[in-house]
Symmetry: C2
Subunit: 198 residues, 2 copies
């Protein structure tokens, strides 16, 4: 086995762990399955992590560091057009790897059940809201919105709840067409909150 510093091994294992959880679920993500995915011997795992829980926590924290969807806006777009395009782009990316969103949901549930990890979901949410807020501010600037109907933070909350609701519902039904219809209905509401007052 090629010799690697612990920090690199750590990231390898975290990424392998996420792949296994996405493929097999939290139930099948045993230490042995993860080291097999990473191609390292079993004992390496506990050389890097004190426990399996620590690794799960590291994986959950790792997730929220992945960057959001950067946006490239068309020239003469309305607020509604921009919101629709952004939301749909997020959704299409979601559809490429829905099992990852299921994995994130499972990890969240596991963390909130585990005392030593219970603080993480709140931090992840905070990270989401911050990243979303920056994105929204950027969009508002580009669209020349000067008298917003709602503070950025509140709009970010609105959007996050929307993606959360869509994620949960889609994972139950796997009905992408229904999801797109729902997006179509929600976009005007989000656009109204993002745009200028009245």
């Amino acid at each position: 086995m090629t010799r690697k510093p612990a920090s690199v091994r750590r990231q390898d294992l975290v990424e392998a762990g996420l792949r296994v959880i996405a493929r097999e679920g939290m139930h099948g993500a045993t230490v042995r399955a993860i080291v097999a995915e990473a191609g390292v011997p079993l004992a390496t795992f506990h050389y890097i992590f004190a426990s399996r829980d620590e690794m799960i926590g590291a994986a959950y924290a790792y997730i929220s560091e992945v960057p959001g969807t950067g946006a490239a806006l068309p020239e003469d777009a309305s607020v509604e057009d921009v919101v629709r395009a952004s939301f749909l782009r997020w959704f299409e990316r979601f559809l490429e790897h829905p099992e990852y969103e299921l994995a994130i949901m499972e990890i969240m549930a596991y963390c909130s059940r585990t005392p030593s990890l219970a603080h993480l979901p709140g931090k992840v949410q905070e990270h989401y809201l911050e990243a979303l807020g920056e994105l929204l501010d950027h969009v508002r600037e580009q669209l020349g919105i000067t008298a917003p109907a709602m503070p950025t933070r509140e709009v970010a909350t609105l959007v996050l709840h929307a993606t959360d609701g869509l994620t949960y519902a889609w994972l139950r039904t796997r009905d992408s067409e229904a999801s797109r219809r729902w997006i179509e209905a929600v976009v005007p509401m989000l656009a109204a909150a993002l745009g200028d007052e009245r």
Copy 2:
């Protein structure tokens, strides 16, 4: 042990299973933990269920049979008032046992990972939408709404996504005040969809 017909034992075990999942999570809901909760010997479990998975499926199906929140409307209420009151009542009930919603989320994830149970989440969602639709029609009738802005089914979808989003987000943050603020922002949108056109 008092002698009971299999059908009653079955329900006992399902309810005990739900209690254990709500308390310990799917991870801790072992067959042994469930029979201990129900107060029956281990072998009884496999006398009733062919496998643990079968019991999980039965538990998930059992959930969607629990009735929704019946509503008692005030006399001269606006559409918005009714929507707000209904949503807040649902939320207060949610807050009484949030660990049950977490349990349902975990069961949903587990089912959608397990081939023999993968069809259940879709059925549960269908059941939700149907029950919600009936409730909404009832509300519309009482409020004298004759030219709805949106078909019932679509409004039900809107509401379900809203509760899903709130559930997911609250479970991360456990911030009830933020949730109430979000409800306040969403209620007008839902009311507009529920009420008469324009």
